[in-house]
């Protein structure tokens, strides 16, 4: 195992985070705070409880998940796309580093940033609404698993993309709509039966549901199913990454 290489990539990527602090951390925290002000305090105070939880507190896990999904994808995709764009990927390809080590470095850094952002949003949310965390271990587990899984997904997008436009297409056109329709702001039990069935095809539903369960003990789907779906998506991403490195898809002629 080339530990020095993993460390080098990780530190290099994290350095970018500190260099672009406004973009990496301040921006998601600010936008999520606005959600809390508008939906949590202004509108939420006039809404009934959902599953026995005040609306302001109900949306906390969903908003954290929303930020984590977008940040993980954005950080990981940008991290591997930039060397491709600038041409410095030659160094990565010519280094004595395996595919798994490369992924640990890039995805590890992207996931770390997401966890940091998630934690900051969690703390920020506490300034606006009162909430409890019933299962802190599972809260952290879902936070980390989701960050890693979607960082892997972002890594795949970064490899696939050959333009900045493509880099934005999947997060903007697919992930954000799925996150908004995945129960971040409502329980899918509030939907008509037909749309409840449709919603179950949205993988984000399972992430938000599991994460919300870790806070309040209530969920749209069983927590075991949420866990299983998260792991299944992680395995699918790992398989795709393995295939990319085996074939050299979009990185090696």
């Amino acid at each position: 195992m080339n530990i020095h290489a993993i460390k080098a990539i990780y530190i290099f990527e994290m350095a970018r985070t500190w260099r672009t602090l406004m973009q990496s951390i301040a921006s998601p925290v600010l936008s999520t705070s606005l959600y809390f002000i508008v939906f949590g305090s202004a509108i939420g105070s006039r809404m009934a409880n959902v599953d026995g939880v005040s609306y302001g507190a109900f949306i906390v896990p969903g908003l954290i998940m929303l930020s984590i999904l977008t940040e993980s994808i954005s950080n990981a995709s940008f991290g591997i796309y930039m060397p491709k764009f600038t041409g410095t990927i030659y160094e990565l390809l010519s280094a004595p580093i395996s595919a798994i080590e490369t992924v640990i470095g890039y995805v590890g850094a992207a996931a770390t940033k997401s966890v940091i952002v998630g934690t900051i949003i969690l703390v920020t949310a506490r300034l606006f609404v009162d909430f409890t965390i019933l299962h802190p271990f599972w809260m952290v587990a879902f936070l980390v698993m989701t960050s890693v899984t979607f960082s892997l997904f972002g890594f795949i997008i970064g490899i696939w993309a050959d333009s900045f436009q493509k880099l934005q297409v999947v997060p903007l056109m697919i992930v954000t709509p799925l996150a908004f329709l995945g129960g971040s702001f409502y329980s899918i039990n509030m939907l008509p039966p037909f749309w409840q069935t449709i919603a179950l095809f949205n993988p984000v539903v399972y992430l938000v549901s599991g994460f919300r369960w870790s806070f309040y003990g209530v969920s749209d789907v069983g927590v075991g199913i949420s866990l299983g779906m998260t792991l299944a998506f992680m395995l699918a991403c790992l398989a795709a990454v393995w295939w990319i490195f085996r074939t050299g898809y979009k990185i090696k002629a």
Binding site: A5, I9, T86, Y90, L92, L93, P96, A253
Partner: protein, 323 residues
């Protein structure tokens, strides 16, 4: 010019002093373009090897395969005894690459990017060594500068520093002095010589023939994906180089006397010059005999000079001969 005689090619067996051994290497890209055709090549330990070839000849593809950036279609490569595929870690640790393009992390500092490169190649931190490299390359004062603020020549030095950061034993320089000024080019030549003195094997591709002529111990010429020649530079210039004597005649000639007509003696189109090609290394150049014969025919000349073919002439002839 008369056609060149075929040169003896290198053996495909691994020479005991070979640090890079390429055997039967071919590369066909997905587009169908065949960049390399059954290349056999051996680079000796501690030498400076110049790989020459026109654009699209396959130089960069060959280097990219050896460094692990491009997958070969067929064939094998060993770097310091390690297969570049099966033992890629050991092989790549030995190799440093300075690519042709100025690809840098624009927003990083010189120090951060060099430190990153060392770690990437599996080496533990060694600030003293990195300091030495930066000082050797006159980059130490710029260590905290962002790369985007540096000049093109400085960026090229940064890329060399990155390639040297993990103490490679083999260094590939792909067009290292492209776009740099004469002074910096001279500095780089000195640096390359210094590296060779420290035991690093250097493989450089270049468009500047004078660079190869100045630097290289051996020359390889690649054309259309095939290595068409590998030779000691001095032997190559001796073997394929030619020397010419040009006589500026007092009075132009319409034609050469019949007994002087030969391949190695030509009359210029305006009849004012006689050009005699001879083997400078030969026991008899034939110059004395030629001058005597000219005297017998009453052909007088007012001036004369000799020229020797450069590596560039040899290269152009070789590539044209393959066209």
């Amino acid at each position: 010019m008369k056609p060149l005689d075929p040169l003896p090619m290198h053996s495909s067996a691994v020479a005991p002093d070979a640090i890079i051994s390429v055997s039967g290497l071919s590369k066909t890209y997905a587009s169908g373009f065949q960049a390399l055709r059954n290349v056999d090549l051996q680079i000796r330990r501690g030498e400076i090897f110049a790989l020459l070839g026109p654009n699209g000849a396959g130089k960069t593809t060959l280097i990219s395969i050896i460094c692990g950036i491009v997958n070969p279609s067929t064939g094998t490569v060993q770097a310091d005894g390690h297969d570049i595929v099966g033992e890629y870690r050991a092989a790549r640790q030995k190799i440093g690459l300075v690519p042709q393009e100025l690809s840098t992390d624009a927003f990083e500092s010189v120090w951060a990017t060099v430190k990153f490169s060392r770690g990437l190649f599996g080496k533990p931190p060694n600030p003293a060594y990195l300091e030495k490299i930066l000082k050797d390359l006159s980059l130490w004062e710029k260590r905290d500068s962002k790369i985007m603020t540096l000049s093109g020549g400085m960026k090229r030095r940064v890329m060399i520093a990155k390639a040297l950061s993990h103490e490679p034993r083999i260094l590939f320089l792909d067009e290292p002095t492209a776009g740099v000024d004469v002074e910096l080019r001279r500095d780089m030549w000195e640096m390359v010589r210094g590296l060779r003195e420290s035991g690093v094997t250097i493989i450089l591709t270049t468009h500047y023939i004078e660079e190869a002529e100045e630097m290289a111990d051996r020359i390889g010429v690649i054309s259309k994906g095939e290595i068409i020649l590998v030779e000691e530079k001095t032997a190559l210039m001796r073997k394929l180089g030619k020397k010419q004597l040009t006589l500026h005649l007092q009075s132009p000639l319409q034609t050469l006397p019949a007994d002087l007509q030969a391949d190695h003696l030509q009359l210029s189109p305006d009849g004012a010059e006689l050009i005699y090609t001879f083997d400078a290394q030969g026991e008899h150049t034939g110059i004395a005999s030629l001058l005597r014969q000219l005297g017998e025919h009453g052909i007088d000349f007012k001036d004369l000079h000799t020229t020797e073919s450069s590596l560039e002439d040899i290269f152009v002839d070789l590539v044209r001969g393959r066209a």
